[in-house]
């Protein structure tokens, strides 16, 4: 469990974090969302110690990371795994060497045991053996993210941080990465914090979502609550996605049986055809040009 208490960070006179309070639970995918410049990356960097906050606390299972000395911080850092936006794989090392690096540095295990563990985590992230000896520049972006994820979990971390894990990936690969992170989170009961503005991820794996706006926590909830939220700033952010607007309209239809006024005609007709009901009372099911009579039911 990680608890953020009244965290503030300013660069010169510009306040980037204005007193953020959040609680991130174990075994859950905790998402931090927000538009660019909202402070989510700074928040994550303050949590892992890459940036020192101006004030406030970051509590790892009750221990305040901000006020720890170097040795105590190092002990916490050994329990942290982080998946960076660009993967941050070591260019001069192969896939296998990249994943083995934390084991080499922090364990005294024999080579065969380390190799076995590397094989195990690479299999866990669904990476085929023929990629093991390749260099990061020789594999695709999706594979690089999987290798980075394998490296992040190879020491069985207690806390997993993912900074925009889906950036630069196609929707299908993004889904695979999201599912992997979710499965690993639940499997090892780790506290996972994901920085993202990918709404597909939000809807797929958002057990706990924190919406950041201009350096403040604007809203928090889960992926079921988010599309029904009446927070205007959040709605402006999430309903920039047509897919989510449709999802919200569908939810309105399900709950009220009424067609929302802003429903595009094409979508409305498709729903009528699917349900075989004249929802808008125009005397037609679906596209009026087809002139299909309404159902008697």
């Amino acid at each position: 469990m990680i608890e953020i208490k009244n965290l503030k960070k300013s660069f010169d006179d510009k306040a980037v974090l204005k007193g953020v309070d959040v609680l991130f639970d174990d075994g859950k995918c905790n998402l931090i969302i927000g538009s660019s410049g909202s402070g989510k990356t700074v928040l994550m960097k303050c949590m892992v110690g890459l940036i020192k906050p101006t004030s406030g606390n970051v509590l790892y299972d009750g221990d305040d990371f901000v006020n720890m000395n170097d040795i105590e911080q190092k002990a916490i850092r050994e329990k942290i795994g982080m998946l960076f936006q660009g993967g941050a794989l070591f260019d001069s090392q192969t896939v296998e060497q990249n994943v083995m690096f934390p084991l080499d540095m922090f364990t005294n295990d024999k080579y065969t045991k380390k190799k076995e563990r590397v094989k195990q985590v690479l299999a866990r992230v669904q990476l085929k053996e023929d990629a093991y000896r390749k260099f990061p520049s020789e594999i695709s972006g999706g594979m690089q993210k999987r290798v980075a994820l394998a490296r992040a979990i190879v020491l069985n971390p207690k806390y997993l941080f993912c900074d925009e894990p889906n950036s630069g990936l196609d929707p299908q690969t993004s889904l695979v990465i999201d599912k992997l992170i979710q499965e690993i989170t639940q499997e090892y009961n780790i506290t996972t914090i994901i920085n993202t503005h990918d709404m597909n991820s939000v809807m797929e794996i958002g057990d706990h979502i924190t919406y950041m706006h201009q350096g403040e926590k604007e809203w928090e909830g889960n992926n079921k609550e988010i599309i029904l939220s009446d927070n205007n700033k959040l709605n402006d952010f999430i309903f920039a996605s047509e897919f989510l607007r449709d999802a919200k309209r569908m939810r309105t239809i399900q709950e009220t049986g009424e067609i929302p006024e802003d429903m595009p005609a094409g979508v409305k007709d498709a729903i009528e055809e699917k349900l075989n009901v004249d929802l808008d009372g125009d005397g037609h099911i679906g596209d009026p040009s087809k002139n299909k009579p309404p159902s008697k039911e």
């Binding site: 170097d70 050994e78 960076f84 260019d91 080499d104 540095m105 922090f106």
Partner: protein, 233 residues
């Protein structure tokens, strides 16, 4: 920057491995260019010295003496190190700069690794070990190149050249050159490491920091050359 460098290593074996890797990169990696420039510097200095010593009353052994002393005192340590500023310095600055920009340094820090100790210190130590060795090799090859050029051009007989080499030889000159090479080695590795490690931005900034690192280390190297000569000769 130096403050964080000297902490207890997380795993001494990994630090040793990194040090050996850097010795290979800096030492073996620069061997070819050092060999080429040393031989040619020696050869050219023989030809130019012979060209200027036209008086029949000056013995030909003087050519060997001048070549020996200029190669040992100046050409081998200073010219070789200026070339190494470009070769090694730009490599260190761009390597660390790329690691900084692509968040590889952040990744190491989050793992709990002392990045200054793991990435910067082995480079400096490897430079301090390998660059003086390269300079010693450059001295030998420079003198050999001079002997070769003198013989090939028919300027000086090899046996006369050899006689001149041992005449009025001062071992202190070699010590002085080695002291210079240690100071230069520190400049060649530490300055680019500083610029590379602290780079901010993207690919463009990596290029800028690499160029700046080479320019600053070259100027510092020449300044150190002057100060050491003034103090020690």
């Amino acid at each position: 920057m130096a403050g964080g460098m000297f902490r207890k290593p997380e795993n001494p074996k990994m630090y040793w491995k990194q040090f050996m890797l850097q010795c290979n990169d800096i030492g073996i990696g620069s061997l070819g260019i050092i060999c080429i420039i040393s031989v040619f510097i020696g050869a050219v200095s023989t030809l130019q010295t012979a060209y200027q010593l036209v008086s029949p009353i000056i013995p030909k052994t003087t050519i060997a003496q001048i070549v020996r002393d200029t190669v040992i005192l100046e050409f081998a340590p200073t010219l070789s190190c200026i070339v190494l500023c470009g070769v090694v310095g730009s490599k260190i600055a761009s390597e660390l700069g790329n690691m900084r920009v692509s968040e590889q340094i952040d990744a190491l820090e989050i793992m709990g690794i002392n990045t200054k100790g793991y990435l910067v210190l082995p480079k400096i130590l490897a430079g301090l070990v390998t660059i003086p060795l390269l300079i010693m090799l450059a001295m030998v090859l420079g003198i050999w190149g001079g002997r070769l050029a003198g013989t090939a051009a028919g300027i000086i007989d090899p046996s006369i050249f050899d006689t001149g080499l041992v005449m009025a030889f001062k071992a202190y000159n070699v010590y002085f050159a080695l002291i210079k090479s240690v100071v230069f080695a520190f400049i060649i590795t530490a300055v680019p490491a500083f610029y590379g490690y602290n780079v901010k931005g993207g690919a463009l900034e990596i290029g800028h920091s690499s160029t700046r690192a080479v320019v600053v280390s070259c100027v510092l190297l020449l300044l150190a050359d002057y100060i050491l000569s003034a103090l020690l000769l």
